[in-house]
C-alpha cells in the first residue's frame, strides 16, 4: 500500500504540472484581461501600467516560470478582479459546492440503486419502459433548461421553494434535485444493464437453484457484482460535480466554485482559473484514489491482484 500511494503521489505531481501548463497556454491565447478589467473607458496610461503591474508585459515562458516559482511557495497570485489571493477565493467556495454536490449525489445514488434493480427485474415490462424513457429525458435535458423549469414550476407558479441563493435546506432542494436528475438517469441505466448482465450468469442460477430467496439472490449476489462499473462512473461524476456544477450553480445563484470559475473565465482572471484548475485536479486525484481503494472492498480479486 505505501508504494502504491507513493507512486500515486508522483503521478499526481506530473498531472499538476501538465494541467497548469495546458491551462496557462489556453488562457494566454484567449484574449486580454487588461482590456476586460479597464473596459473601453480605461486610459492609455492605466492600461500600460496595469499590464506591467500584472506582469503581462513579459514573455510567455518567463510568465510561466514565474508562476511555477510562486506556486511552489504556495502563492498562486492575486485575483485581478477581486484583488485578494486567488486560492482563498476558490477555497472559500468549497463548502457550498461540497454541500450541493453531496446532496445531488446522495439523491441520485439512493434512488438509482433500487430503481435500477426494479427495472432489471421487470425487464420489458411497463415499469422498465417507464424508467427507461424517463431516464432518457433526464440524460438529454440540458441542465440550464432543467434549472429554469424547476425555478418556474416550484419557485414561481407554486411558490414552494426559493428560486435562488444558499441558505437552509429549502434552498438546496431545487439545485440539488436538478443536478441529481442527470446522474439519477445515468445511474438507473448503469445499474439496470449491470443487473441484466449478472442475472443471466451461472452463479446466479446456482444461487437460485440452491433455493435462496429471490431477495437475497438479487441484492446479495447479483447487485454486488454490478457495483464496480457503478463506483467508477459515480466517482467521475462526483469529481465533475465538485469541480463545480457550472451551469446549475449559475442558474440558481449558488455561491460555489462553478460559478466563480465561469465568472473568472469570462473576466480572464488567470490566477483564479489556475487555482481552480489545481484544486480540481487535486479533487479528481483524490476521488480516483478512493475509487481504487473501494474496488478492493467490493471485489476481493482486486485486493490480491
Amino acid at each position: 500500500m505505501p508504494t502504491f500511494l507513493l507512486k500515486r503521489l508522483i503521478q499526481s505531481l506530473a498531472v499538476f504540472l501538465g494541467v497548469s501548463l495546458v491551462i496557462f497556454l489556453m488562457l494566454r491565447t484567449a484574449g486580454d484581461p487588461v482590456q476586460i478589467l479597464l473596459g473601453e473607458e480605461g486610459t492609455q496610461h492605466d492600461v500600460a501600467r496595469l499590464r506591467e503591474a500584472l506582469g503581462l508585459d513579459r514573455s510567455l515562458p518567463v510568465q510561466y516560470l514565474l508562476f511555477l516559482r510562486n506556486a511552489l511557495r504556495g502563492d498562486l497570485g492575486v485575483s485581478y478582479h477581486h484583488g485578494v489571493p486567488a486560492m482563498e477565493l476558490v477555497l472559500e467556495r468549497v463548502p457550498a459546492t461540497l454541500e450541493l454536490a453531496g446532496a445531488a449525489m446522495l439523491i441520485a445514488v439512493v434512488l438509482a440503486i433500487p430503481l435500477g434493480v426494479i427495472a432489471a427485474n421487470h425487464r420489458g415490462g411497463p415499469l422498465d419502459r417507464f424508467f427507461l424513457s424517463g431516464s432518457l429525458v433526464g440524460i438529454s435535458a440540458p441542465p440550464f433548461w432543467v434549472g429554469i423549469v424547476c425555478i418556474l414550476v416550484f419557485g414561481v407558479v407554486f411558490r414552494w421553494l426559493p428560486t435562488s441563493g444558499r441558505g437552509g435546506w429549502e434552498h438546496l432542494i431545487l439545485p440539488a434535485g436538478s443536478l441529481a436528475l442527470y446522474r439519477l438517469a445515468l445511474f438507473i441505466r448503469l445499474v439496470r444493464s449491470g443487473m441484466l448482465d449478472v442475472l443471466g450468469q451461472d452463479y446466479v442460477r446456482t444461487a437460485r437453484s440452491k433455493g435462496l430467496a429471490e431477495r437475497a439472490v438479487v441484492f446479495k449476489h447479483a447487485l454486488k457484482n454490478t457495483l464496480i462499473p457503478f463506483i467508477t462512473i459515480a466517482g467521475l461524476q462526483m469529481g465533475s460535480l465538485l469541480a463545480g456544477a457550472v451551469v446549475t450553480e449559475r442558474v440558481f445563484a449558488w455561491p460555489g466554485m462553478g460559478r466563480l470559475i465561469l465568472d473568472s473565465i469570462q473576466k480572464l482572471d488567470y490566477p483564479v482559473v489556475m487555482s481552480w484548475a489545481l484544486v480540481t485536479a487535486a479533487i479528481f486525484i483524490l476521488i480516483n484514489l478512493i475509487v481504487d481503494v473501494s474496488y478492493s472492498f467490493v471485489d476481493p480479486r482486486v485486493r490480491s491482484g
Binding site: 476586460i36 477581486h82 484583488g83 423549469v149 411558490r159 449559475r250
Partner: protein, 538 residues
C-alpha cells in the same frame, strides 16, 4: 433517418409540453406574498471588493455607494454636495473645498480635513498601489488642509473638472485602514454613508443596516440585502415569486412579459452607454490583416477603402433605420443617439439631429462616391458585451445590404473582439462607449492618436482633425462653464458632421420592482437603497 424509438418520442413530447409552460407560468403568477424577509435588491454580479478605491466597475461602485460618501455626490440630476458642502475654483489652478462638519464614520471616528486629504492621496496610490481611481486624481498636484473645514487643492494646470473627478473618489476611514490593513478593510468596510456594513457572504449576499448617525436624510429602508443573481431569467423569476424587491438588468424580452404582470412594475431609463459604428479612416485599401500593416482587413484585397470618403459614411447613416432596429432587435428598448454622450451631460449638443433613414439617398451618395454597385465589407462586433449586440450587428448588416453594401457580420466574444480592435484588425466595428464626462470622451475617441501623450486610445480608426485637437486642449483648461460648454458643442458638431464615428443608440437600463417600490432609475445604472421609498410608508 430511422423512426425515433418510443422513449425518444415520449421524451420529445415531454419537452414540448414543458417548454410551453414557461411563458404561461410567467403570466399566471400572481401578486407576491408578503414575507418577513429583508428588502432585497438583486444585481447581476457581486461586488468585486468592498474597498471603494479597489475596483472601478458599475455594480461594485453601486453597492459601495450605500456605505461610502464622496466629497461631491453624483445625484440623480447632477452633482450635489456630499461630504463637501461647497467647492470653488479660486484661481485656474487652485480649488477651495468646504467640508461638512460633525460627520462620523460608522465606527464613531470623525471625518476631518486630514481624513479627506489622506483619502484623496490613497486614491492616487499612496500606500495603496492597487487603487483603481488613479485616473480621477490626475488633476490633483498638491492638497493642503487649510483649517478643520477647508481643503485647498492645487491642480498645477487649469483643471475645470476637478469637482467631477472628486465625485468618483470615496472618503475612507484612514485610521481604521491603518489598524486593520487594506485586505480586512475590503472585507469589513467602514464608511460615512447611509448604510453600515453587516455581513458579506461572497456570491450570495451583502447585508446592510441603516446607520443611525448618518449626517443626511435617514433612509426609509432600515435593513437591506443585496444579492448577485447571474442569470437574467432567474432574476426575473425571483421578482415574480416575491423573493426580491428590486432587480437590476431585466432583459428587454422579460420586460415585455413583466409589464403584463399586475404585481410588479418595470422602470426604464436611458443610460450613458452609447452604441456606435467606428470606421477605418486611414488605410487606403483592403487586404489580409497584418499587425501594423497597411491593409484594411474587412475589405477584399486590392479594393479601395470606401470609408475614407465622407459620402460613404453618410450613406451608411442613411441606410440604417435605427428606430426600427430598436423596435425589432431591442424589443423597443433604447433611444436613437446623436453623439457619444447622454442628454443630461455637460457639453451635450442639443442641436444635432440624426441623419434620416433614406435608402435612395444612401444609394445616391454611394454612386457619387464612386461605388454605384456598392462594395463588400466585414462588420466586426462583440456578442457578449452589450445588450443583444450580436443580433444587432446582424440586423445592421442586413440593412446595409439593402443599399448595396454587402456587409458580413463577424460577432466574437469580448475577450477576443477588443484585443483585435486594438491591433487594428477591423474596417468597421460596432462597440459601446459609456461615460458622461465629455473631456475623457473626446481625448480617447476623437483626439489624433498619440500613445505617448495617452490620447486617442479608442480612436482606432485614426480619425484626425487639428481643429478638434485644438478645441480639446482649449476646453480642457477653460475655467468658464459657459465658454467650455460652447467649445464642446462646437467639437461635437465637427466630429458628428464628419461622421468620425456613427452614433446609433443609447442603451436602456431596465429595472424590475415590486409594485409598492418607489425608485427613480439612474442613467449611470446605480441602484441605491437610500433613494428608494415604499408606497404606504413615509
Amino acid at each position: 433517418m430511422a423512426r425515433p424509438t418510443r422513449p425518444l418520442r415520449s421524451a420529445a413530447r415531454a419537452l414540448l409540453r414543458w417548454s410551453g409552460i414557461l411563458p404561461v407560468a410567467l403570466l399566471l403568477a400572481g401578486a407576491p406574498a408578503e414575507g418577513a424577509r429583508k428588502f432585497t435588491i438583486a444585481f447581476q454580479g457581486d461586488a468585486a471588493t468592498l474597498d471603494p478605491q479597489g475596483r472601478n466597475e458599475t455594480t461594485t461602485i453601486s453597492i459601495q455607494m450605500h456605505m461610502f460618501d464622496t466629497l461631491v455626490f453624483r445625484g440623480i440630476d447632477g452633482l450635489e454636495p456630499g461630504l463637501a458642502t461647497s467647492w470653488k475654483a479660486v484661481s485656474p489652478t487652485k480649488w477651495l473645498i468646504k467640508l461638512r462638519q460633525g460627520v462620523r464614520f460608522h465606527d464613531g471616528t470623525p471625518f476631518t480635513a486630514k481624513v479627506a486629504k489622506e483619502s484623496l492621496l490613497r486614491a492616487q496610490g499612496k500606500g495603496f498601489p492597487k487603487s483603481q481611481m488613479k485616473h480621477f486624481t490626475k488633476g490633483i498636484k498638491a492638497i493642503r488642509a487649510v483649517d478643520a473645514s477647508t481643503l485647498e487643492i492645487d491642480t498645477g494646470v487649469p483643471w475645470p473638472t476637478l469637482h467631477e473627478d472628486l465625485a468618483n473618489i470615496a472618503i475612507v476611514p484612514i485610521d481604521y485602514i491603518k489598524k486593520v490593513g487594506d485586505a480586512n478593510f475590503a472585507r469589513k468596510p467602514v464608511g460615512t454613508g447611509p448604510y453600515k456594513f453587516a455581513e458579506w457572504v461572497k456570491d450570495d449576499h451583502i447585508d446592510l443596516e441603516a446607520f443611525p448617525g448618518y449626517w443626511g436624510k435617514a433612509p426609509t429602508l432600515k435593513e437591506v440585502r443585496i444579492r448577485p443573481v447571474p442569470v437574467d431569467a432567474a432574476r426575473t423569476a425571483g421578482l415574480i415569486s416575491g423573493e426580491t424587491d428590486v432587480v437590476w438588468g431585466v432583459s428587454p424580452v422579460d420586460a415585455r412579459t413583466l409589464e403584463k404582470n399586475p404585481g410588479v412594475k418595470v422602470l426604464r431609463t436611458i443610460t450613458q452607454r452609447n452604441i456606435y459604428l467606428a470606421f477605418d479612416h486611414w488605410r487606403k485599401e483592403g487586404g489580409a490583416f497584418k499587425k501594423g500593416g497597411s491593409h484594411s482587413p474587412g475589405l477584399p484585397a486590392g479594393k479601395p477603402n470606401p470609408f475614407q470618403n465622407l459620402k460613404v459614411r453618410q450613406a451608411v447613416a442613411h441606410a440604417l433605420n435605427v428606430p426600427e432596429l430598436l423596435h425589432t432587435v431591442m424589443h423597443g428598448s433604447g433611444a436613437p443617439a446623436t453623439q457619444l454622450a447622454p442628454p443630461p451631460s455637460f457639453g451635450y449638443n442639443k442641436r444635432l439631429a440624426p441623419l434620416p433613414f433614406d435608402p435612395p439617398r444612401a444609394k445616391k451618395l454611394l454612386a457619387e462616391a464612386g461605388f454605384p454597385a456598392g462594395f463588400q465589407m466585414r462588420l466586426d462586433c462583440s456578442n457578449d458585451r452589450y445588450i443583444n449586440d450580436g443580433p444587432m450587428c446582424e440586423a445592421i448588416s442586413g440593412m446595409l445590404r439593402k443599399v448595396g453594401i454587402v456587409a458580413t457580420p463577424n460577432p466574437r466574444t469580448k475577450a477576443v473582439f477588443f484585443p483585435a480592435l486594438d491591433n487594428g484588425d477591423f474596417t468597421v466595428y460596432q462597440a459601446g462607449w459609456g461615460t458622461d464626462s465629455v473631456g475623457p470622451t473626446f481625448s480617447a475617441v476623437f483626439h489624433t492618436q498619440d500613445a505617448k501623450k495617452g490620447v486617442g486610445r479608442i480612436n482606432r480608426g485614426h480619425y484626425s482633425n487639428k481643429e478638434v485637437d485644438g478645441l480639446i486642449a482649449k476646453a480642457s483648461s477653460e475655467m468658464d462653464d459657459a465658454k467650455r460648454q460652447a467649445m464642446w458643442e462646437k467639437a461635437w458638431e465637427i466630429v458628428i458632421g464628419e461622421l468620425a464615428v456613427l452614433p446609433l443608440y443609447q442603451q436602456e437600463a431596465i429595472i424590475g420592482v415590486q409594485k409598492n417600490v418607489r425608485l427613480k432609475p439612474r442613467f449611470n445604472e446605480w441602484i441605491l437603497a437610500q433613494e428608494i421609498t415604499l408606497a404606504g410608508r413615509n
